[in-house]
Symmetry: C2
């Protein structure tokens, strides 16, 4: 399902295509997933799980220094969103793919809105830490800054998916760093 | 078609739904549009046309002062992207809706990539003007700045569509202005 979604999108997601990838019968699949929406819901939950389980840029590992805080942590959290390698590109492809259906489906829309709101809360905390550390201007509104940062990386995801040759990993990182430099100033 | 796309998205776009909106038969529609993709392609072209024809924030009108240049023009061009009213929200809903199909369809993907590249070229010119006017730092890379600005507004579009109550027009504008203030600094 993951492979089908990340290459053909939700529009190309059919029980038949997933069954073919699995080498299973369509009948077996319908036993678990009655329709496309059920497949997508499951894919998004799986994406959440993988996302939470994947080694973060800042996960503490035995023997390594403690994870960064403040601006460095904000940067790491934003980098975690970007399609910097094949796996994160596939994951982002699935997110973008889900927006069409989600916007027309109140339940999926609410789940997405909550995901983004949760992410803004986390980013706001990093911004506030950075302000306490004197890394970001104390007079800026942390929630506004977090919302802006989230908008920036989401839009960069879309641009990068459509024009991967123009937005290789190093350019995405450079653009993010230029954006963060603007916040600092 | 516009109404169907803007409320139900591409996933909800069927010849039958469009025929119902039109009060026409499905047969009449298939005469013009053999499939969903043809409908979407037409919708995107129509969106381009409406977008080009709609009164811009900076269109010169007889008797009004000349359109702004530099930073003010960059700001106006970015504001033109945002879902600040019902019409631009509906248009943006259709764009976001098209991303899923477009990413899986080389021809649509190329058309989208070209649209965004064209828009970056226009934004880059405004940035360069603003630099010449001393409104933006002369040492910044204009193309990078334009790509960042485009990412920012695209991401803000997505956030606003999912959480319209959290991102009313005035907040979108305030976030954009805070972003621009960061570029100036």
């Amino acid at each position: 399902m993951w492979r089908v979604l990340s290459t053909r999108g939700f529009e190309g997601l059919t029980l038949r295509a997933v069954a073919a990838e699995l080498g299973a019968s369509t009948g077996l699949l319908t036993h678990y997933f009655p329709n496309k929406r059920a497949l997508l819901s499951h894919a998004l939950e799986e994406l959440d799980r993988r996302s939470a389980a994947r080694p973060r840029r800042l996960a503490p590992v035995d023997g390594t220094p403690p994870p960064p805080v403040g601006l460095a942590r904000l940067r790491a959290a934003l980098l975690d969103v970007l399609p910097l390698d094949e796996a994160t590109e596939a994951g982002n492809r699935i997110w973008v793919s889900s927006w069409d259906v989600a916007l027309a489906d109140p339940e999926l829309a609410a789940a997405h809105a909550e995901r983004y709101a949760r992410s803004r809360v986390a980013l706001t905390a990093h911004v506030a830490d950075a302000q306490r550390l004197g890394e970001l201007p104390a007079d800026a509104d942390p929630a506004g800054l977090a919302a802006g940062a989230q908008a920036f990386v989401l839009g960069l995801v879309v641009q990068s998916l459509f024009a991967p040759a123009e937005f290789p990993a190093e350019r995405q990182i450079a653009l993010l760093d230029a954006y963060l430099a603007g916040l600092v100033a």
